[in-house]
């Protein structure tokens, strides 16, 4: 049970910067997901925590103790590999007891802990089977059990579900979450799949191009992306971002979205004042916030309708302005070619600076 603190962590491979200025504290017993597309630096971060890669700058602390000089076999890190790295030339039992043996735990103690772990993970019936040829969910359990049995300080999981087919993934997800609950251990989970991150993690750290962009609970990340990358990356589909200009109306400031129309007057909360907004702005809103409204101030033609069960995704657009809208199937859907008139709840509008990409105006 350990708190992990990454401070100013960075890694360069020659001229290429894999990670820069990473600051993140992962609390004791917390389940944090590192989320980002491939090449964002999440695996590098994880490998540095495990000790497979040495950082070029910054520090990693477990409970305020720097572990940079601790070799990886002593860090007490449980690591679950993408393909589980089960020792297929051994039996299930030998896999489970491998770490205990390596650490010189006495035989009775070892047997006790292995059978306890096997019971917990329902592996007892297959303890003496060869590990080769086991099904993938058993492999996952075995991989976690193999690490857990040595009672590591923290658990690192490297995209453990990426090799599992989609249908089985939700089963595995819930099993994993259940295991985490049972062990109640600090876990860092690397994934590029936001669904996994959103459903399992206590907090999500979104990364891109070697930078940590935002850390927060799944809801925070979803509702208040602090950056247009996070805005677009989180959610399915991601947030609509449109270029616009601030315009003045009798009811206050609003955003002029050219051919689409003009937004409702802005309501901003937090510190930022409407007066400080730059003239050019990025206007963001989630597809779910598109509210069909005959009196709406915004309008776009429907290009395409994607029906996905209870909901449908409408692809709207004109010129370079593309917008996706997610609508319940309860309402009558417009036909292709129709002009959809809609409004956005001003409270749900998020504004971003087109130059820096950062959120402006704050959250509600």
């Amino acid at each position: 049970m350990t708190q992990i603190a990454l401070s100013n962590l960075g890694k360069k491979f020659g001229a290429f910067t894999a990670l820069a200025q990473m600051n993140l504290t992962i609390g004791d017993g917390e389940f944090v997901a590192l989320l980002g597309p491939s090449g964002c630096g999440k695996s590098t971060t994880m490998n540095m925590i495990a000790g497979m890669v040495a950082p070029t700058e910054g520090d990693i602390r477990f409970d305020d103790r720097s572990i940079l000089n601790v070799p990886m076999s002593r860090r007490g890190v449980g690591f679950v590999f993408q393909n589980y790295a089960i020792f297929t030339h051994m039996s299930v039992r030998d896999n489970l007891s491998y770490g205990l043996r390596a650490q010189g735990v006495s035989t009775p103690e070892r047997n006790r802990r292995v059978s306890a772990m096997a019971d917990l993970l329902q592996l007892t019936p297959m303890l003496d089977r060869q590990a080769a040829g086991l099904s993938v969910n058993i492999l996952q359990r075995l991989a976690i059990g193999r690490s857990a049995v040595v009672e590591p300080a923290i658990f690192l999981l490297d995209e453990p579900l990426s090799n599992v087919d989609a249908a089985f993934r939700s089963v595995m997800r819930s099993e994993l979450k259940e295991l985490q609950r049972q062990f109640s251990q600090t876990m860092v989970y690397v994934t590029h799949d936001q669904l996994e991150a959103m459903t399992m993690a206590d907090r999500i750290a979104v990364m891109d191009h070697g930078k940590l962009l935002q850390v927060g609970t799944p809801l925070e990340i979803y509702n208040n992306p602090q950056d247009i990358f996070v805005a677009r990356f989180i959610g399915s589909p991601g947030m609509n971002i449109l270029e616009g200009r601030i315009a003045q109306s009798d009811k206050g400031k609003l955003v002029d979205l050219a051919v689409i129309g003009r937004s409702a007057p802005l309501i901003l909360s937090g510190r930022a004042a409407i007066e400080d907004l730059p003239e050019k702005i990025l206007f963001g809103f989630r597809p779910e916030q598109v509210n069909p409204d005959p009196n709406g101030t915004l309008a776009l033609p429907v290009n395409f309708v994607e029906r996905i069960g209870a909901r449908s995704i409408l692809h709207l657009g004109a010129d370079s302005m593309g917008v996706k809208a997610v609508l319940d199937n309860q309402i009558t859907l417009p036909n292709i070619g129709d002009i959809l008139r809609f409004s956005i709840d001003p409270k749900k509008v998020r504004l971003f600076d087109p130059v820096s990409g950062n959120a402006v105006g704050g959250a509600d």
Binding site: M72, N83, A85, V150
Partner: protein
Amino acid sequence: MSEMSMEKAELALPATNDVIDEEVRLGFWLTLPAQCLVLFIAVFPILMQLYISMTDWSPLDGIPWYRAYELWIGLINYTDLASDSRFWAALWRTFVVMIVCVPIQFLLGLGLAVLFVDEFPGKRWFYSTLLVPMMVVPAVAGYMFFLLFQSGGPVNDLLSVFSSSPVRIAWLSDASLALVAVMAADIWQWTPLMFLILLAGMISVPQDQQMAAVLLGASWWRRFVTIVLPRMKTIIIIALAIRTIEIFKIFDTLYIMTGGGPGVATETISVYIYKVTQQDLIWGYVAAIALVILIVLSVVSAYAISTMSKGAKVR
């Protein structure tokens, strides 16, 4: 099979018996050249040797081999062989070379593979250099080693560095040291191959499993013994088998270096057969030796292969 049922089968399955038949035929044609070559080199020589091994035929008798029946002696060549101490000594010597050279080559090759599996500066250069001995024609290696092991040669010069007085060992004139020199040459020439095969095997051991072992607290040694070596099992067997087989036939470098001498001190089975064939010229006897070796090798290899393939099936 009637036409009707054939039709049915075609409808039912994309892979019909027809196709399977064609595949068997294709397989046959593809293996035909190799089969022919093997038969070519195997059948006639074996039958001929079987025949002349029952005779006292020698080219010195002035009759062609097919008339060797005039010198029919039954199984005497075989009973002679059983009591031929020089043959058994040569066989034993070959065995000694095998059990000394193969493990040394294996351990050196393995050690080098361990070093070369990780990156280090200049690796490419070192790697290429290590493979050079394999590229040197054994004949010239024989001459060079002959010179190296002269009493005033470079090997003694090197040894002198570690000794207070100049070392002047006459390696090739000493009955026991000559074998050492011959083995040194073999180790020099063939460790690179061992290294190459083992390196190939080691590189292919999955990295994540090794990492997993380390993260579970395994020391380098434990990881090597419990993960790397077991994973390399098959390739280790192959590497050992190749070298064992090749050492059994050791001839070129050795023959040029020592001619099997001094005396018979470095006479391996191949050198022995060569001498009996070319100097003693008792070819009936040579045929008996050849057949005995063939039978022994066939039994041993058939046994080894069946054990190995059983092992492979378990995996």
